[in-house]
Amino acid sequence: MNTQKTKSVIVIGAGIAGMESSAQLASFGHQVTLLEKEKVVGGHVANWERLFPTMKPASEIIDLLKTDIMNNVNVQLDAEVFKIEFSNQEFIVTLTDGQILKSDAVLLATGYDLFDPRGKEEYGYGIYDNVITSAELEAVFKNGKELKTSTGKTPKRVGIIHCVGSRDIKAGNQYCSNVCCITGVKQAIEIKEAVPDAEVFCFYMDLRMFGRYFEDMYLKAQEKYGVQFVRGRLSEACENQDGSLIIKVEDTLASKPLKMTVDLIVLLLGFEASKGTTSLGKMLHLNFGDDRFISPTNEHLLRHNTKMEGIFVAGTCTGPKSIIATISDARGAVITVNNYLNNLN
């Protein structure tokens, strides 16, 4: 193996996939630069309060990852990639501020964006004051605020809507976003903890409790917290004069349309390929699936390779994943990138 010169890799995106893979690649002795276009690291997880299925704080993971990258990784914040080219056996990455960086490999960890619920006009997000997103609810908890309606009263009934922007051809996304169902159950429990007297309803098409301890969480939500589940997709939300909302679903298991008034609606937003994933993937002529996420070379065994040699992918830029899956995925990418770098001349 020719290891005369230390190999370098640029990791784009300092979410948890980017941070984990950077730290591990650095521990193998490579020179790692981690680029993040925002002013802070941590991606979406940094905005989350507690994580399923353990209910541990998200900050635990973020702090751990931050420590890992502190010493061995060259982190650049406020650094957005403008162009990536390949020339003379190396990658030339130009940032929007003009800075030029070079490396032997590039790892995309550009992740996802949450679906913009204004695309579901009939849900009234941005029009009705008491329709909020899962991310906004998480922020309420994270900032230690009390859960209140727009007029400052404590909600007596909350409706959580599954599959917003997922499994929905009109919204442009036919696929399932994987983690929203368990997030809905988690947030239902959290709402009951915050407001024990509130009635909480989850409106779902399917309940995808696929992971370890997920089914336990579903059972606990019903048994301990009294969360109720209605199998029926939200068709239309309308606003009453007092700002409360009328939900129209079909209770499919009863074969009847059902209407109820709630004080607050929480939309569980699906995942979409982020702007960075889309623009960099297109720039590098990578393959995309119909779901607009990047397609790796082989879904089973070559998950981190792409059409372009030297360009690798990790995390949710290849599809929605839980945190557990993302960390595993990032570590898989590390092995692939490490082997690639070690085999370079």
């Binding site: 579903y218 059972l219 019903q222 048994e223 009294g226 109720q228 589940f229 199998r231 209770d251 298991l253 009863a254 009847k256 349309p257 059902l258 209407k259 109820m260 008034t261």
Partner: protein, 113 residues
């Protein structure tokens, strides 16, 4: 005045106006009622369900929603054979639920559901 047609009743469950007294009673007396996931194992094996349209899964669901218009008629179909309790994957005490429904109906005998 008879115009030859009449205003129709809603088929919709209006949750804000529905009658959830029986559900609240059952939840207190038999808390396993809460963990039903409507899988239908009970209805599939129900002795009464084979020969009538008695459907325990649907009955529990409609009780939860407060839509109990036909409950007085339906509840008499159950023979308390216990096959539903054998089948339930979540170990719900279904026989007790039936008994509590009957008690609750007796308590509300003047109530129009």
């Amino acid at each position: 005045m008879d115009f030859g047609y009449s205003i129709q009743k809603d088929n919709q469950i209006d949750y804000d106006k529905s009658h959830r007294e029986i559900a609240e009673y059952i939840r207190k007396e038999e808390s396993s009622f809460n963990i039903c996931m409507s899988c239908g194992s009970c209805t599939a094996i129900c002795s009464a369900g084979i020969f009538t349209d008695f459907n325990p899964r649907k009955l529990y669901l409609l009780i939860s929603r407060g839509d109990i218009r036909s409950i007085r008629k339906e509840i008499d179909h159950c023979m308390l054979c216990g096959k539903c309790q054998l089948a339930c994957p979540r170990g719900i005490n279904t026989r007790n639920i039936i008994l509590q429904i009957r008690t609750s109906i007796k308590q509300n005998k003047d109530h129009v559901f």
